[in-house]
Amino acid sequence: MKLSFSAEDEQFRNEVAEWMANNLCGEFEPIRFRGGPGDEHSFVEERKAWEQKLAEGGWTAIGWPKEFGGRGASIEQQVIFNEEYARAGGPGRVGHIGETLTGPTLIAFGSEAQKAKYLPGIRAGKELWCQGYSEPSAGSDLANVKTKAHFDDAQGKWVLNGQKVWTSLAHESEFCFVIARTDPASKGQKGLGFFLVKMDQPGVTIRPIPQLTGTSEFNEVFFDDAVCDADDIVGEPGDGWKVAMGLLGFERGVSTLGQQMLFQSELDEVVRIAKRNGAADDPAIRQRLADAHIGLRIMRYNSMRMMSGGEDGSLQKEAMIYKLYWSSWHRNLGKLAMDVLGPEAELLEGEPYELNRLQSLFLFTRADTIYGGTNQIQRNLIAERALGMPREPRGAN
């Protein structure tokens, strides 16, 4: 058990930091520290250009094997990249869904033709992806997907009908991966297919969802006879659930330390304000500031344990608590930020509804404990999978 990185990894760290310093400047100066959670609507065009800049430097998809254009970077190096990226103020990555979800899914389950068709565009930062999982009736119960796909012999294409929701970046993306029911008589996890769907076509309609922040990170996506090619299904019809869930077990959380750099800068800002406005003299606030500091440090060592763990893809305990832990911590930080600001917390930056960073943090962190598996679902998973307690009974539907 060691707290330090190897000399070779530290050398890699310097390389990343140097590249970021030399490239995240000039035309890209305005996007430093922008486009994170709650700010994803900002500077989208500039951030798309930034993806391509990253790709030119060889800094996209660094964890992919070299044969697919990646660097085959080790877990440690991926961690370091994410840390230095965040430290330098690297903007929210518009390409992250393609890089971290589509790419690894295709590398694991895709055909050679699919890899050749889609991986280069992701690697080059030119083709963005969004995720078509949730539906109005398939939230926590994700397997209750109603979107249907049938193969139309006349066109020689798959035809999709249905609705997806909470789709981040839908309006900016070239493609969407969609789970849809290929067997109309099926229920739950069976009878699903995993499709690669082009967004720019007549059968796809995108509608932004205005949120409590006044912004619209999330969208509804409607499929009305939308099509994809015969070979744009990953695996066989019926394999959709396996493909969609296949990578979760191998998630080692390499981006978590980068995420924590962002959290640290938020906490630093709260501490700065508390010192300035006298909130830090309040013993109750002091307790909460210390608690936030301790909580974030624990998050770091949770991640380090998670990443040092077995390579067999088995879910470890520290990985199972991770989502519940960070989302609760982040939500508490949002609340603490408002309590430190006091009545100032009410005053906006401007019309019509311009929030400052901490106000946005306060409101948007309410989503953290909901998306990607609510805290309640997380607790079910921990109890059932880590502690071996009985599964929730299913309703008859």
Partner: protein
Amino acid sequence: MEFSFTDEQTMIFDTAEAFLGEVAEVASIRKSMETNTGYDPSAWDRLCQEMYWQAILIPEDNDGLGLGAVELVGILERMGKKLYNGPFASSAAVTLALAKWGSGDQKSTYFARLMAGESATIAVIDQARAWSAEGVSAQAVQTDEGLRISGKYRFVQHGHTANLILVAARAPGSSGQDGVGLFLIDADAEGVIRKRVPTMDQTRPLAEVQLESVLVQPEQCLGCVGNSAPALAQLLDIQAILVTAEQLGGAQASLDMTVDYLQERVQFGRTIASFQAVKHKCADMMLKVEASRSIVYYAACVIDEWLSDRYDANQLAEAASMAKAYSSDAFFFVAGCGIQLFGGVGITEEYDIQLYFKRAKATETFLGGGAAHRERVAQMLLAGEC
């Protein structure tokens, strides 16, 4: 970066579990807590002779095992699981103090005694809530024959049985950080009076130690007499980290026994482990156990870094206070939830969860609880020291 155990460490911990399963089953803990010593001396002898754990931190040059704080903390975690009640943690803290500040002669003298199976402990304060140099009230008075120490110490772990007591005392008229010294006292020296005091947690014996003009020679002074306030603070931080390892083990055991019970207990025609209200409580308990594990292992690494002078006293202080604040609250939460989930039998003498609940509160108040350590972290945070 490697934040997992080596194969050798895992082997040591497996051996520890097996050994503690033999000598520290709950029946023998319950039996020994009723005795005068408060622990089983024959189990301690076996620990020293068969396991040689008292030598973990003693360098190979001094014929010890030359291992580090990570091994130590892993063993303490397993002792906490079993509510082991022997004088291991306090002896280890004194060993660490000697390793850090002891002279060559002191190391060879005292390491030899510790390896032979003598136990040691630490005595600092008389008044509660003052675990710091400011709280030291015993006095070290210069006389013609040498320093003579007088004063009363409370909350001394195993103070009634330890062979060696590391005490803090101050120069007459001094206060605060000034005039503090650390001294190694033989428990059978003239003027040492000690008695075990009854404790709410029966598995953690405490004593009162009274020193009446106890004579100490220069070779019994650890570090620089009169200037040892910083060393004392570090000593208390080390001791706190060792306590958190026991807390982690205790919290894990509380969770495990609770889940086992919930799986067996049937109400409304189903095992109560199937109720979501119960499952969610257990998930929260596990989250705290795992988070506690992360900070305790980190703090163990910090002890090793500090021992080899790569980390300074501030980094040790931050790690100790983070770990003590979180693990104290976590253990109390988990043990408290445990009693609630056991239901009526949770408050009986027969079931073991009550022993863990008491251990949680005892280890929380010892060396300062969550609020005190968070305040210390807040001071460092607001001063830009962490």
